[in-house]
Subunit: 351 residues, 2 copies
Amino acid sequence: MSTVQALPATRRRRQGKYTFYLENPPLIAGIAAVGGPVEGAGPMGAGLDHVYNDNLLGQKSWEQAEVRMMCDAVHLCCRKTGIPLQQVDILFASDLLNQIVTSSYAARDLDIPYVGLFGACSGMSEGLGLAAMAVDGGYADTVVVAVSSHHLTAERQYRFPTEFAGQRPPTAQWTATGSTAVILANRKAGDGVVGITHVTFGRVIDASLKNPYDMGSAMAPAAVDTILRHFKDTGRSFSDYDVVATGDLARVGHPIAAEMLQEAGYDPGDRFIDCGILLYDPNRQDVHAGGSGCACSGIVLASDLYPRLRRGELKRVLLVATGSLHSKITIQQKESMPGIAHAVALERMDA
Amino acid sequence: MSTVQALPATRRRRQGKYTFYLENPPLIAGIAAVGGPVEGAGPMGAGLDHVYNDNLLGQKSWEQAEVRMMCDAVHLCCRKTGIPLQQVDILFASDLLNQIVTSSYAARDLDIPYVGLFGACSGMSEGLGLAAMAVDGGYADTVVVAVSSHHLTAERQYRFPTEFAGQRPPTAQWTATGSTAVILANRKAGDGVVGITHVTFGRVIDASLKNPYDMGSAMAPAAVDTILRHFKDTGRSFSDYDVVATGDLARVGHPIAAEMLQEAGYDPGDRFIDCGILLYDPNRQDVHAGGSGCACSGIVLASDLYPRLRRGELKRVLLVATGSLHSKITIQQKESMPGIAHAVALERMDA
């Protein structure tokens, strides 16, 4: 047995108070995303690797369909990158369902070591952050991060039985149906040109809002908190990123975040976008304030941001997936809705 | 911007196919655990840092009481270790409730960066595994891992309204009420004599069992799978550990796991124990097959295993917290119950 060491020999990989610095940025070997009919018909549809014709995928329940979507996304990602699933060391996965059953049942079928995460709709960046740490730290060579959401499983879990067909207020968002899988590697594999360089995990911020039909407003302060801490830690600002994309603040929450950032002395400008706004076409698709769900930022990353990074149209993107951490029970108990946002910096490594 | 590196300079910290090797084992600065009246009256009661007189803790709901328990455990751990909460870089937390609301609402009050995890009752070792990686990798100096479960919140969520007072079969387990917090540091702080040396994340194993009143049998194969892979990767066996403790297989599942290990050629013997069996006194406490819940392995670690490691009575312990990954919905949909187990090796570092 070894002796106690006063200080470790490991190099410190921390910048500022809150931000991880990835010494050897794990490279994105590839991304795959699948989506439902609504997502396929939207502005991101062309970038999806597969669009399902219906929401059931031939399964007996929407929950089983969601499991199938996540497995499909992971298998497609393996195929695109040329990395066999058996060579992937760990699956980091999350979804919105109680006991994250989509992730766990998908992990059962995928049969590789599995770390289950929950960050509500912030799952994409939470997973990428932990996965990047595992690869950069030398604990894994190849990992896959998977997220999913399904409009119909989320709707009946968080809100009403779907048969009820309740009317939703304009501030409500539309939970995306889809799944995204990202493979990270410590070597050049697949695409291998975009790396994860920094991760800033979020604090839970509660603006004392209690309306579950307006999650954007509840999450906006968390997004702002994480972005400001990331900028402070790294010395960066909006001008250092081609895009700073929040997850799913949508048309109500995103302007609030932009205003808060302006009040803090920043000029977000056109670089500050939101995946919940981009996922659907408000003129053709009746999704109220915009998209939400783990798959919202996942699909926009896979269909738009990552391809543009890969083609060199973007050099640096800060993905700030956002999550509202309430449950049906906490709403019933009159609790307010805490929000969280995790930031992950994606960067072309050959520029 | 940097250039693509073919292979990272980071040292590989992997042993065998599945196991992490912590190069500079993060040291446990301290552990604190709190428990409900039943846990306080049981064999582990004397080792608890605080025992509550009732299950409500003066709150308006059991859910709010569970949040309070987790905050109490973290604050107590900070006090015991002399490390102010503001110096803790990240909270890794998990619990059993839908959307892990205990962890998220506790994180709101604790106000430090938060990574939410779900692994059902395997949360203690899932959290310790990720946290150890964060510290050993140099991404954090000090982290806290917290888990909780509450008999009454779990009972009404997973099974029946508690007012129903339904009779449970003898194979059923008793979800523990309590919370455990562990602070890990990259330097000698607090106790600082026990380190985390290896982590083996589990695969999801499904034995096709469907009885939610017999989780021990469903989780046993997952525990065995993880233990066998840990042994294979590290070249270790039962003789290398003073204790190999599963999380909550309890009196039905643990003998099944022991038999499976024997069939695989190992002799588990007296070193192979289960926290679900140790948490309560079957002669005085009517808990059917034994304890379960995230707090089950958490409390036994805090009250028994860790103090014995600290006193030098034990040199090496393999903690294999176990989780059943089903939800009420998957049971209603006639799905089987997948299990998982994550293994964390705890070792005295001064021997």
